[in-house]
Amino acid sequence: MGAAPASRDVISYGMGLAAPLALFFLLFFVAPLLQLFWLSLHNDTAGLHWGLGQYLHFLTDPFSLSVLGSTLLLGAEVTAVCLVLGFPIAWLYQRVGPKLQTIIILIVLLPLLTSVVVRTFAWIVILGRQGIINATLQSLGIIDTPIKLLYTQFGVVIALAQVQMPLMTLPLITALGRIDPNLDDASCSLGAGSWRTFFKIVLPLSLPGVIAGCTLTYAAAITAFITQSLVGGGQMLFMPMYLYQQASTLQNWPFAAAISIIFLLAVLAVVSVFTTLGRMSRGYGGV
């Protein structure tokens, strides 16, 4: 903005220094991506015939489309759960003493300190037929036969929400921390109740954090191969596993590449919607 001349100087200096990283990206990110794209443009597994057959196949195949749809839906569900559960935690964090803050941040970060595989297996133990939830409910006499929790959409959403929770909570904590606490008092003194203050002041001002958190959670949830496959089991198929099957098991590399590209575009579309929303809400950022 106002600092345009200065920032142009920084960029012209920065270009040379960024070259090693740029080269790295070019070799190990852009090049494979282009190769993937090139591969997806072949109609046969041997890679001899050019054409858009793989894309046509995916887009006309109800099964493939349903996998894509359920994956995008899964992301939306996980993001919603994380937002609804994560917002109160972030809100609480800004209103408790420093000791409780340390405890909350520890709880929020704890999932990041454990391996995804370990966390996922923990969920299998919790959700299984003889798992903690079913055992407890049965011993309390609430249910007679175990409820099916593992290998269900519900189970996958819950497990993914726990695994991705820090990605939502941390941006929210930052965004809420940037809101002047006097605004709460000002709103209250003007006659607004807590809910009005929340919806008119706190929520709009925390939108940048909400959007950042949603973007991160969504992107992480739909690509979470391990948790999706282990908690979802054989009956539930999502894009990462579908892709893996096509590439590794069926050796159908061009189709796998096409799936990758379509999945990538779908994710980019969702993320760019979030980013646009974020840009629109940036007007709220300054004081």
Binding site: D180, N182, A186, S187, C188, S189, A192, Y284, G286
Partner: protein, 364 residues
């Protein structure tokens, strides 16, 4: 309209507040404020004035005592139902709402329809002389303009009491004076009972009908600006409000209205027992303001040697070292060609009048 409503009275009745740690924030504060008055809560930082403000607004529930607005005891009411308008030190405007939406916020919370809200917001913006700013965002306004908006926003809910928390601290000096005049003008038009929290004594003395001086959570004095300045009731008030010379001495004789005191600096003067009767032979601290001292030619008064003379425009301040080695400041109005005093000149000083020297029992 707000112009006609007149202010409601505010009574702070024996209010004490203890922090969770047990420390006292404010102790047994009593203030009886008439409708339409401007009151300044004056004190150094940490004296409990902001705590008291937050108690009146309802953000803090006091440990003991009552807050009475008009005829109502409001202790049980949350801040959003007390109808107390607050202007915060940093203004606390809602950054994502336009100026007009900021001003109308309290009206929206009261369920008033949009057309009325907009009309009222525009009327208030005209009142604070910002009619053209309605559609801007707060950050596009200067500090002084933001403060006017904060005032308009607080006045929009037609509050029974208006609280201003260090309202001018963030403004530069010229703008501060403008805004002080502006606030006083708005207060006159609206007649709202107003409480200003400040650590700036000039601000308190110039703006308020009465000043409440606080120190360490206790009310030191509550009186008119001239009472507080000329007839301070405690040593703290005498030293905190205005500048003063503190001179130690011993009571020679005393009755209720006057005391003869032998200053350590070497003279007997008559002083006013400012904090009640003094005991003969007791140690006292005598406070004399620099402008209440005069040079005397005869043998009355105490002797001293001029150290430095500072011409401060309308006045000249001389620093004089007395016989007991303490420094005393005397300020003289600059009338015509004031004779410059050379450093090292021997002079004698005495208070202008006995009532202008205040004697307080010495602590320790």
């Amino acid at each position: 309209m707000a112009e006609a409503q007149g202010g409601r009275s505010l009574v702070v009745d024996a209010v004490t507040h203890r922090y969770p740690s047990g420390a006292l924030a404010v102790e047994n504060i009593n203030l009886d404020i008439k409708g339409g008055e401007i009151i300044a809560l004056l004190g150094p930082s940490g004296c409990g004035k902001t705590t008291l403000l937050r108690i009146i607004a309802g953000f803090i529930a006091q440990s003991q005592g009552r807050i009475i607005i008009g005829d109502d005891i409001v202790d049980a009411l949350p801040p959003n139902r007390r109808a107390v308008g607050i202007v915060f030190q940093n203004y606390a405007l809602f950054p994502h709402l336009s100026i007009s939406e900021n001003v109308a916020y309290g009206l929206a919370a009261r369920g008033i329809d949009k057309a009325t809200r907009q009309r009222e917001a525009q009327r208030l913006l005209e009142l604070v002389q910002l009619p053209a700013m309605a559609e801007r965002l707060p950050r596009q306004l200067s500090g002084g303009q933001q403060q006017r908006v904060a005032l308009a926003r607080a006045l929009a809910i037609k509050p029974s009491i208006l609280l201003l928390d260090e309202p001018f601290a963030a403004l530069d000096k010229n703008l501060r004076l403008d805004m002080q005049i502006e606030v006083k003008r708005l207060q006159r038009v609206s007649g709202i009972t107003t409480l200003i929290v400040t650590h700036d004594q000039e601000e308190a003395l110039s703006m308020a009908d009465r000043v409440a001086v606080l120190s360490h959570g206790k009310l030191e004095q509550f009186g008119s600006p001239s009472d507080v300045y000329d007839r301070p009731q405690t040593l703290f008030v005498n030293t905190f409000v205005g500048s003063t010379n503190r001179m130690p001495g011993i009571v020679v004789s005393a009755d209720r209205t006057a005391a003869k005191i032998r200053l350590d600096a070497g003279a007997e003067i008559i002083a006013r027992p400012a904090a009640g009767a003094l005991t003969e032979g007791g140690r006292v601290t005598v406070c004399i303001r620099p402008e209440h001292l005069q040079f005397v030619g005869d043998e009355t008064g105490f002797a001293g040697v001029v150290g430095m003379s500072l011409p401060l425009g309308a006045t000249v301040v001389h620093e004089v070292t007395t016989a007991d080695g303490s420094g005393v400041k005397i300020s003289q109005a600059r009338i015509g060609e004031t004779r410059a005093l050379e450093s090292g000149a021997a002079v004698r000083l005495a208070p202008l009048a006995p009532s202008l020297a205040n004697a307080f029992p010495a602590t320790l």
